[in-house]
Amino acid sequence: MAQATTQTVSISIPDKSAFSWKNLWIALAIITAFEIAVNVYERAFAFAKGLDYFTPDYQTYWMSILYTELILEPTTLIALCSWLWVTRDRAMENLAPAEELRRYWNLGLFVVVYTVLLYWGASYYTEQDGTWHQTVIRDTDFTPSHIIEFYQSYPIYIVAGVGSMVYAMTRLPQYAKAFSVPYAVLVGSPLMIFPNVGLNEFGHTRWFMEELFVAPLHWGFVMFGWGALAILGTWLQICPRVVELIKQVYYGKPATPPAVVLNDPEKATDPALCEV
């Protein structure tokens, strides 16, 4: 499909280091080390200090973690989003193609980190919670398993998801003025698992049900988890623009200027741009 506009800015080929995996490996190493440390702590103190909420040990070993989480997580989210907003690109219409390409790369890495964190929260620790309920007695709001699963791992992936979306909205013309439905679902649907925790705890407190994973009270977790499939729609939106930029930067072909993408982002999602 022929393009209606031509590129006028001078094109510079970015250095290879602009597309480095280094930051991703560092982030994944930190996440892995953190989650292993959490796991070791759980194995050491979940049964030993975490079975009776009404003991001083429980307050020391588990409630202190909960309170720390409740302070650190919203603080981190506010700090991250504030930083992304304060340092936003205020002249996106002049964005150089190489820089735009680099930002898409960063966004991709951000989403990979989000995905890994989502795995730890919605898969690993959620399955672990099922095991906890099969082993220990009835569900309560603040079990060691919940303090890690609900109040630690879920908010952490939410911080990463929302952070990645704010990154896209503050640095990429495609997302600066328009609202991406698939991206909102990708971030917002797993985010809704967290409010669903409130419903879950209310239900367990009121209905005294048998702790089954398939209980209707738990369906919300599954439904919102499926929202992560919107990653396919997100990539479908992103890929044409990325290919267009690659063709522009490395092969000198014309591309839609960022000012046009800014005002009509749908143009940048045309699969025809992926033609070779």
């Binding site: 200090k49 009776d52 220990v136 309560t140 045309d270």
Partner: protein
């Protein structure tokens, strides 16, 4: 002189560190360095614990030492009553499973008898108001200190737990075996039976999935979008792709079918998992000594005292006394009954004395109104304070005995409690 190779050194460091970390992960739950606490039953609502399933006459064979060695067998015996008036808020299906609670598979459940019938795998159907006698035979498996005790899990309603003890399992779990003789006469060790086969199948099927993903993900993704846009979607699948799909489809079906046939040939005699539920009759009723009715009940909040009036008619031929009140695994004993003192081997919580006024026995044919009063910090410690909850009702078992030692258990199943907050706590009412 040996030159230190930085890269090799780092690799060794990572390997050793990884091994230590993994060892820690594996050994942490087995460590007896960390003393355990109870199962946290008191985080459950008071009416849930007082008005559903009441355990009594519970005995553990390992008392008073509360110590066993890995491989030792021990028993837990006792009775449960399903309270005759079940709380409306909690579903009742009656389909229940007697179990022995412990955090994780630290002991093996070797056998369970309910009313002297053997049940290992099946659920039983219980009735409201019924009393059932159980015997659980267990075997110590993992060293450590564990809270243990009997429990009944009911379909839809969830678990109900009995009194607990802290059991110390000594020794090493390294050489532990769990031999079982099958119906064909051969002996297998359930600790590792089929483990190799399970791991092999997991690895094989995972490998198939990985190869499938790698095959498709290694193809250029964005270029394929372009082909779709250009109306050349048929180019997306090459003859090679079709052959690979065919190979995977047929290969997987053949693999599963062949594996099923090989397994069938290896194990020609199998029986399906048994799902039958057993209807089991409650124990026959105990001899009737009394007829009783609770007329009113109050809970004095500042004084931590539960009091109620009980109208009792002796319908037996011997004088009768009220000996004990048991609720939510807490026992209150009447100190006016000779010999009715606390035994440290009781697994329940000692609630303290139960004052009964008048304290004299009720003679045959006589009707008396007793004032029963239990002042105890355990109402708060065990969170049996009904004034915090949406259901201000309590339940429990009263134990009456006559002069010959005959006992009658009388259930208070659904009695409303009026809280008394006192002058300083009433909020101006």
């Amino acid at each position: 002189m040996k030159i230190f190779n930085c890269e090799t050194g780092m690799k060794k460091l990572v390997r050793v560190g990884g091994a230590i970390l993994l060892s820690g992960l594996m050994l942490a739950p087995m460590s007896s360095l960390f003393a355990v606490q109870g199962m946290g039953a008191k985080s459950q609502e008071a009416f849930l614990r007082m008005r559903t399933v009441t355990f009594f006459d519970t005995r553990f064979s390992f008392t008073p030492s509360n110590r066993v060695k890995v491989g030792d067998e021990f028993t837990c015996t006792g009775k449960v009553m399903l309270m005759p008036t079940w709380p409306q808020e909690i579903p009742f299906s009656g389909i229940s499973f007697f179990n022995f609670f412990v955090p994780g598979p630290q002991v093996l459940r070797k056998a369970i008898f309910v009313n002297e019938k053997y049940f290992q795998f099946n659920s039983v159907v219980l009735e409201k108001g019924g009393v059932y006698e159980y015997k659980m035979i267990n075997q110590a498996r993992t060293p450590g200190i564990w809270p243990v005790g009997p429990m009944v899990s009911m379909e839809e309603a969830g678990p109900f737990i009995g009194p607990e003890e802290f059991l110390t399992i000594e020794g090493s779990g390294a050489g532990f075996t769990n031999p079982v003789k099958t119906l064909l006469g051969n002996t297998i060790d359930l600790e590792n039976y089929g483990e190799g086969r399970m791991i092999a199948w997991t690895l094989l099927t995972s490998a198939i999935a990985v190869v499938w993903l790698v095959y498709w993900c290694s193809k250029p993704f964005t270029r394929r979008l372009g082909l779709v846009a250009a109306g050349r979607k048929e180019d997306l699948f090459s003859p090679m792709d079709r052959q690979v799909c065919f190979l995977f489809t047929i290969g997987t079906i053949v693999l599963v079918a062949a594996a099923a046939m090989i397994t069938k040939a290896q194990y020609p005699i199998t029986i399906p998992i048994q799902e039958t539920k057993y209807y089991i009759k409650p124990l026959p009723p105990e001899p009737a000594l009394i007829q009783a009715e609770v007329t009113d009940a109050t809970y004095d909040v500042p004084g931590r005292t539960l009091s109620f009036h009980l109208q009792v008619k002796n319908i037996g031929d011997k004088p009768v006394v009220l000996k004990e009140f048991l609720t939510a695994n807490v026992r209150f004993l009447n100190p006016d009954v000779p010999g009715n003192t606390w035994n440290e081997n009781y697994p329940e919580v000692n609630g303290g004395p139960m004052r009964v006024t008048p304290s004299e026995p009720i003679n045959p044919g006589e009707t008396k109104t007793l004032e029963v009063s239990m002042q105890s910090a355990e109402w708060e410690n065990q969170r049996l304070t009904m004034y915090h909850e949406s259901t201000n009702r309590f339940g429990g078992l009263l134990f009456f005995t006559d002069t010959s030692g005959t006992r009658q258990v009388f259930a208070i199943a659904d009695q409303i409690v009026i809280p008394k907050f006192g002058a300083t706590m009433g909020g101006g009412m």
